[in-house]
Amino acid sequence: MNRGISYTSAFFTLLQRDLKIAIRHRGDIFNPLLFFIIVVTLFPLGIGPEPKILTRVAPGIIWVAALLASMLSLERLFKADYTDGSLEQMLLSPQPLAIMVLAKVLAHWILTGVPLILVSPLLAVLLHLESNSYMALMATLALGTPVLSLLGAIGVALTVGLRKGGVLLTLLILPLYIPVLIFATSAIDAAGMNLPYDGQLAIIGAMLVGCLIMAPFAIGASLRVSTN
């Protein structure tokens, strides 16, 4: 019996499986996206339709909505695997846990982060975002949402075994999201004023690299605690 599966092969097996399950369960993809859109449309109703004000607050609104959408969708990242026992099997697999965790987070990001990036220009139109900020908005979301997924997954892994993890999760991970929020919105603001914003993008990029390296281990350790 040959057991020569490589790490990349294990990674793609898991990625493919998660995508397949999500496609058979489409609600999981659309609900966070709808949440994102609805939250953004609530703001003009709350603060008034004045285009100048909306232009000023648009980057903040879109990003805060993205944080919340990412957090809400993450809540289910490990839940199903935890309740049906597949998570235990993953922990006992001879493949490194960090690789499998990374595959799961990537699958989740493809399903929830990417649609969010694609729909964001539409919302930017609704909020009268400065026309030169669109590229910055897409770029910060593209670099920033994977950071949110990776950081958030740590919190999710810590709370997956708890019966009421939902509100607790907010308290655990939203403070960790602050740096991404600050640099992303300031990049969009800078772009709106025709200033260079590659510095902010570079910092978010650095956070992404840091998270890619460290978060999978923290997530793995957290999962081992949660399944105990």
Binding site: I154, G155, L158, T159, L162, K164, G165, L168, L171, L172, L174, P175, L176, I178, P179, I182, F183, S186, M207, M214, A218, A221, S222, V225, S226, N228
Partner: protein
């Protein structure tokens, strides 16, 4: 190092050690805070710009600096508990968390109270106050996570991971908040200008900072002893202890 740590991993010994250290910490804390506060409140010269309201510095600054130190202490204890699986370290981390949260809250509260005469408003999104607020959230997260697990061995491990993730993030959060605040409100009045402080103003402050450190140490020891007893309720020595205490 390992041998030494291991000998104190025994719950009974760490309980007794904490009991021996407690009076030292407590006496030093009372003495230092007493001297520092009286000196600061009554004898230190008045600030020529802020008048007497600056004297809140003798509570605010020690609380603010110790809030960070306590988080570091908690994360270090968690790290030792996770890596070397020393339960006494887990209990220590669990005992520090609420104390750190209260100290952070005191720093925030005194900061706000100071802001009222200074800026004419209770809250300003000043970089220091904002990072202190985020630190409070991090503490509350650790405490809430620890409280959510029924099994306290697991609770300590989960909260420990979160504390360590938090400690890696603190410099990043601090840097981003400083940067954000300099971007949005260029050059308002700085809340403390260390260089302009005269010796008479500075010494009571330093004494109080040490005093607060000792106080946190003493409170942690009290909570640590309670935690050891709570986690070892089924052990014979705890039952013995309960009997002798009850007989007194």
């Amino acid at each position: 190092m390992w041998k030494w740590l291991n000998s104190y991993a025994d719950p009974e010994r760490s309980y007794n050690l904490a009991g021996k250290l407690l009076p030292w910490f407590a006496c030093l804390a009372i003495a230092l805070i007493g001297v520092g506060t009286t000196w600061g409140m009554l004898y230190a010269p008045m600030d020529y710009q802020q008048g007497d309201s600056f004297r809140i510095i003798y509570i605010h600054v020690p609380a603010a600096s110790m809030s960070m130190a306590a988080y570091m202490g908690m994360a270090t204890a968690s790290f030792i508990g996770l890596v070397w699986q020393i339960k006494a370290a887990d209990w220590a981390a669990a005992s520090i968390a609420p104390i750190g949260a209260v100290i952070t809250f005191i720093a925030l509260f005194t900061g706000a109270a100071w802001g009222k005469p200074m800026w004419g408003t209770w809250w300003v999104w000043d970089a220091r106050l904002t990072s202190e607020l985020v630190l409070l959230f991090l503490y509350l997260g650790v405490i809430a996570l620890y409280a959510s697990f029924e099994d306290k061995v697991l609770a300590a491990r989960a909260a420990g991971i979160l504390a360590i993730v938090g400690v890696i993030n603190i410099p990043i959060i601090k840097y981003s908040v400083d940067w954000w605040s300099s971007l949005h409100q260029p050059a308002t009045i700085k809340i403390t200008e260390k260089s302009t402080m005269t010796g008479d103003m500075l010494y009571p402050l330093l004494i109080n900072i040490f005093g607060f450190g000792m106080m946190i140490g003493a409170l942690t020891l009290v909570r640590f002893r309670a935690e050891v007893l709570a986690r070892n309720g089924m052990r014979p020595w705890v039952r013995e202890l309960a009997k002798t205490e009850a007989a007194k």
